[in-house]
Amino acid sequence: MITASLNHLKAAGLRLPHLAARSIIPILGISLFLLVWQIVAANIDTSLGKFPGPSQVWQQTKALADEHVQQRAKAAKFYQRQEERNAKKLAQDPNATIKMRAYTGKPTFWDQILTSLITVMFGFALASCVAIPLGIICGLSERIYEAVNPIIQVLKPVSPLAWLPLVTMVVSAVYVSDDPLFEKSFLNSAFTVALCCLWPTVINTTVGVSSIDKDLVDVGRVIKLPPSTHVAKIVLPSSIPLIFTGLRLSLATGWMVLIAAEMLAQNPGLGKFIWDEFQNGSSNSLSRIMVAVLTIGLIGFLLDRTMLVIQRRISWDKQAVLR
């Protein structure tokens, strides 16, 4: 029945205005989802009250936005008090050294989102810097590939949370500085993300490079291209689609890993937000966690779309279907 009407709509899609036709089905799907959610949620009793439905979640979204505004006001007062204190100090002793300190209040939901985004991007960039060259080398040389492959295969399925304690200990042992550029917690999260989003890129790049059209490689050989030009002009352009497939998988993995790592290690970010709310156990906690869950999903989706847009820009084959 549904398939029939879908087919019907698909057929109609040819005639209906393009945009409207394309948005009807998603809107239907979302409305149906919200309806089911509201009904199901009302029937789940937890010890923290009813499971939050869309309306409670919307309320908490607004509450979180309000809290953000309040915190900013509090921060402004904090800076004002600090300035007054510094002025007083200077009045007493003109040579006193004064400085402004950053606001010490709690990070708001929006701050946590930003922290998570920066962390995942840093970890992802770090991983890509290693993974793409490694993948290219493995793709170019069968021998190196055979040497590296077993290691990749063993490390690939390791859960991020298994790495986390090791990363934490290594970072706190190795990264010692009086005036650190990065917070240790930031590095812990970022390295854990990097370790987990290496593999999809490495594997896909390897496959991409090793499956370049033989004719292209032969042409390069015939005109005696130096290795660097060979990579830049032939290898990279032809393996772009698969490299990007790898990068997109990596970024998606990284985003999922990051939330888990933040939860476990209590590093700032959305994961910590969820854990804190869970520990609070207040009557609003579940709704607030749900806000975070939806936000994580939405951001994950946007990250993937961004990668897709970049891929379309870079890829030479504009005809290829990308989804």
Binding site: R101, G105, Q266, N280, S285
Partner: protein, 454 residues
């Protein structure tokens, strides 16, 4: 007629020379002014939150960030490796760390954070089984305190069915572990020994009741899941069991040991030596916060509840927190009783780091085998003096008296204070504790190690 603060300041000015004679130099600028403190989501972290919200830290020139920690182990490691400058700690943590039970590090405490504040909760099923054993008052409500004697037949029936009787506490060296053990042992239930020298740190040797660690905020969820049949934890997690209808608090620690010392503020010894002014200033801010919390017969408690219910602090619903913070405690649903001293932050010299408090914790570590070998009384006193630092406390107190925020009668008489409370006899099993004689104290317990090594 001068306003009161001005008058106090005038008095303080007059007093300054006297204090200078007694060796009170003015406290200099803080050496480190940007600090991070850790805490666990429990109402007794209140002095830290209040010192922040009321601007007492800023008054001392300290810019403090307060961060909730996942559990006591993470918190302790944070302080040891310097990610945290100081933290709300279990009284046993600085002692255990200093003697090397668990992670070894020299942690000190110049400030006790509160008295009492914990409770023991059992699941509904256990409560129903125990209730017929408990004598009733004229109005039908159970007579308090409820001793573990009434739990004993329930535990025996579980064991007869081959089901281990599990209970939760928050950390091996937590107040809660010792209180739960004290209560169980006073009712003839063996809570199990530790044997660290044999590598056994589960604390379940010879146990009738098996105790295990669960972080405070997860207690209600773990109880609900049926993994444990009861727990000992700080607030608001006992009251939350009542609100959620998943368990019944049977006793508060006030009834196990009246006005028992609870959390402390812990820092590393290295921190206190590297940043002496900062250390004293932290204690000053915390003292003012503690005083505010108890001022005018707990008048500020509702305001404190509002602050604590914010998500960055305890974050539980205000009405749950209010239940215990405002001097009442709800046992069985509807059975709300007055416990005015359930949370004490300042009165009865609650903030003073008494050596005898440290000795009590050490004595319990020995009683349950966490300290494997018998030790001399002198050893107990020596450890207590290395960890508890009334000297730093006294500096902060003198400075506050000097500045007019406090008066001398709010503190012990520093010149004549030995650091040992007079023998205390308000325990549930009527055994008297004299901090000067820990070994003689241990000999009085029917259950527990004395001179033997397991």
């Amino acid at each position: 007629m001068l306003p009161i603060t001005k008058r106090l300041k005038a008095i303080a000015l007059l007093l300054t020379p006297i204090l200078a004679i007694t060796g009170q130099a003015e406290i200099g600028e803080p050496e480190k002014d940007e600090l991070t403190f850790g805490f666990i989501k429990l109402t007794d972290m209140a002095p830290i939150a209040i010192a922040y919200e009321n601007g007492y830290f800023e008054d001392e020139g300290l810019y403090v960030t307060i961060e909730a920690q996942a559990n006591w182990k993470v918190l302790l490691d944070g302080v040891i490796d310097g990610q945290l400058d100081g933290a709300h700690m279990l009284a046993g943590q600085p002692l255990a760390a200093t003697i090397g039970f668990g992670t070894k590090a020299h942690i000190i405490t110049p400030f006790s954070m509160d008295l009492n504040g914990n409770g023991i909760t059992v699941s509904n099923a256990v409560w129903q089984a125990m209730k017929p054993n408990i004598p009733k008052r004229a109005d039908g409500r159970p007579v308090h305190p409820i001793k573990a004697d009434y739990l004993k037949p329930v535990v025996e029936s579980y064991i007869a069915e081959g089901k281990p009787f599990n209970m939760g506490m928050v950390f091996p060296v937590s107040t809660h572990n010792y209180e739960l053990r004290y209560w169980l042992a006073a009712g003839g239930l063996h809570p199990g020994f530790y044997a660290p020298h044999k590598g056994d740190i589960t604390g379940q040797l010879d146990a009738d009741v098996l105790l295990s660690v669960t972080p405070p905020p997860q207690m209600p969820a773990t109880l609900e899941a049926g993994t444990i049949y009861g727990y000992c934890v700080g607030e608001p997690w006992n009251q939350q069991a009542v609100f959620k209808g998943i368990g019944v608090p049977v006793i508060t620690d006030y009834e196990i040991w009246k006005n028992n010392p609870e959390k402390v503020f812990g820092i590393t010894k290295a921190f206190s030596e590297k940043y002496p002014n900062t250390t004293v200033r932290i204690v000053k801010a915390l003292l003012r916060a503690a005083k505010w919390l108890d001022e005018n017969n707990n008048a500020n408690r509702m305001a404190a509840v509002e602050i604590l219910s914010q998500s960055e602090y305890v974050g539980a619903d205000a009405e749950v927190i209010a239940n215990s913070m405002t001097g009442t405690f709800e046992y069985e649903k509807g059975d709300k009783r007055e416990v005015p001293d359930f949370n004490v932050f300042f009165r009865y010299f609650a903030t003073y780091p008494y050596y005898s408090d440290a000795v009590w914790y050490l004595s319990q570590m020995r009683r349950w085998g966490q300290i494997a070998e018998p030790q001399t009384d002198a050893w107990y006193h020596d450890v207590a003096k290395r960890v508890y630092r009334p000297d730093i406390y006294a500096q902060a107190a003198q400075a506050l008296i000097e500045e007019g925020y406090m008066s001398p009668e709010e503190f012990p008489d520093f010149d004549n204070e030995t650091g040992f409370r007079p023998p205390q006899d308000e325990f549930i099993d009527d055994i008297t504790f004299d901090g000067t004689q820990p070994n003689a104290y241990l000999k009085q317990f029917p259950i527990g190690l004395k001179d033997e090594v397991l």
